[in-house]
């Protein structure tokens, strides 16, 4: 499903963000990507859907090569990958429904989408998805009138409406308080189980990773230093990922 080989990313003037990452993820997996901030989690996720162009290495998603793809080919690949951002990245002045429909842009007639006309079928589909993530009745509300937890669910609805094979979530709960973090992770788990959508979520809270991830990938200084079932995440593994400087296992918010 996802194949990463020798993925390396350099940003000018800073230490190597990714350093020869190899990773295979099978269809339907729920992977929790953990590591200290600055370890390269975001960069890795962004390389997976082509938002960031790596310095070296290859990425395939769903048998299609992401690296080197451009134009229509890149857009086709991106359409099949939902991305959920830490800061939600919604259009604040648009309604919940409009934000959700943005997930359909790659599937509908381009010219009609430019005029803002998605048609009753797409609107019904978006409304159903919004209901599914627990936002029924809020479709006409402006997004900036919603709570943080609701906004992140709009963002998840937007990703779901892409009908993706994969959802990448970059610290999806970091801007939320702990109770809401569980709601969002629960939602991602349901999507993973009910729709068979592969989920890779970067998390910096270990207990969330252990609760929701069915596989834990630890990353430190741009390298994968741990990969296994949640039960394999022992003290030694935690030390490898977060380093001695981290002290006790970091639970809670960074």
């Amino acid at each position: 499903m996802i194949r990463v080989r020798g993925l390396t990313k350099d940003y000018p003037g800073s230490p190597r963000a990714l350093d020869g990452v190899d990773l295979d993820v099978a269809r339907g997996e729920f992977v929790a990507l953990i590591g200290p901030s600055g370890a390269g989690k975001s960069t890795l996720l962004r390389c997976l859907n082509g938002l960031v162009t790596p310095t070296a290495g290859q990425v395939w998603v769903d048998e299609r090569q992401v690296t080197g793809a451009s134009g229509e080919a890149r857009r086709r690949i991106q359409a099949g990958i939902g991305f959920v951002f830490q800061q939600f990245n919604l259009l604040r002045r648009l309604t919940v429904l409009e934000n959700a429909l943005i997930g359909r842009l790659a599937h509908v007639s381009r010219w009609r989408s430019l005029l803002g006309w998605f048609g009753p079928v797409e609107v019904a589909r978006a409304a159903a998805t919004l209901a599914r993530v627990g936002l029924d009745g809020l479709a006409a509300r402006r997004v900036d009138r919603l709570s943080g937890g609701q906004q992140q669910r709009v963002a998840i609805a937007r990703a779901l409406l892409q009908s993706p094979a994969v959802i990448l979530a970059d610290e999806p709960m970091a801007s939320l308080d702990p109770a809401l973090a569980h709601t969002v992770m629960e939602l991602l788990r349901r999507i993973n189980q009910e729709d068979g959508i592969t989920v890779i979520a970067s998390l910096h809270v270990l207990d969330l990773a252990q609760t929701y991830g069915r596989r834990i990938v630890g990353i430190s200084r741009g390298r994968i230093v741990h990969d296994g079932l949640p039960s394999t995440l022992d003290a030694a593994a935690t030390m490898r990922i977060f380093g001695a400087a981290a002290g006790p296992i970091p639970n809670g918010r960074a």
Binding site: R75, Q78, I81, F83, R93, I102, Q162
Partner: protein, 250 residues
């Protein structure tokens, strides 16, 4: 800046102010001496002459029309100019060329442009429209470019991440962030342009100013008073309506 430097700055500013006050013949005595004449001027305007209301209203309508057409055309021209002068949307060479050019054009105010255009295309509202277009386009371009530079990149990236095309990203990631602000700036300039267009008639570029100037020259103060009252009412109505709309935009 050092303490001494700051003091020197204040002293220099004070010196320039005093020098300018003398040069401009600032005089409280002369102002007081002028008060009776101002009073006389007002007294001779009373009562305003209602028979010229037709002219005044015609002038008022034309003033609004000049502002409307001028602002509308300027807003369209300012769109590409705004993107060209936004640091984050324009290649460096274009940015510098466009920004310098706009700074040159913005240095001259609407009334001066009106003088030029009256000489070029003749009397009437048309040179007034052209004057409003040139000045407003440069001002709006600057306001637009600042809004473009302040755009949030996150939502734009999110729209791109759905596999949207460049135009779709512009329509759904960029436009929703800019449109309310652009509309608000444009309305605000329209408001200012109604006031600017009101004096364009002084140089023969149409609108209500033509009647004010004509009646003053004819020493027909009651008629001038009627026109002035219409102008005041017009500006108040436009300001009120425009600020109400702008408050709902953002």
């Amino acid at each position: 800046m050092s303490r001494g430097g700051r003091w020197a700055g204040w002293i220099a500013l004070a010196a320039v102010f005093v020098w300018s006050a003398f040069s401009t013949e600032l005089s409280v005595r002369r102002m007081l001496e002028g008060l009776p004449f101002m009073w006389d001027f007002l007294r001779r305007m009373m009562p305003p002459d209602p028979s010229v209301l037709g002219n005044a209203l015609r002038g008022a309508v034309q003033t609004v029309q000049i502002a409307l057409v001028g602002t509308g055309v300027a807003a369209v021209l300012a769109l590409p100019l705004g993107f060209a002068t936004a640091r984050n949307a324009s290649p460096a060479w274009l940015f510098y060329v466009a920004r310098s050019l706009l700074n040159v054009f913005r240095a001259v105010d609407t009334l001066v442009y009106a003088l030029l255009f009256v000489a070029a295309v003749g009397l009437g509202p048309f040179p007034g429209v052209l004057a409003v277009v040139v000045y407003t386009a440069t001002v709006l371009a600057k306001l637009y470019s600042e809004a473009i530079e302040a755009i949030e990149p996150g939502p734009v990236e999110a729209v791109r991440a759905t596999g949207a095309t460049g135009l779709q990203v512009l329509r759904w990631g960029v436009l929703p962030q800019l449109a309310p602000q652009f509309l608000s700036f444009t309305l605000y300039r329209f408001e200012a342009n109604v006031r600017a267009a009101a004096i364009l008639g002084f140089v023969g570029a149409g609108g209500i100013g033509f009647y004010i100037q004509t009646y003053l020259r004819l020493l027909n103060y009651p008629a001038a008073a009627s026109v002035l009252l219409v102008l005041i009412a017009l500006v108040m109505i436009i300001d009120f309506a425009s600020s109400r709309i702008r408050a709902r935009l953002v």
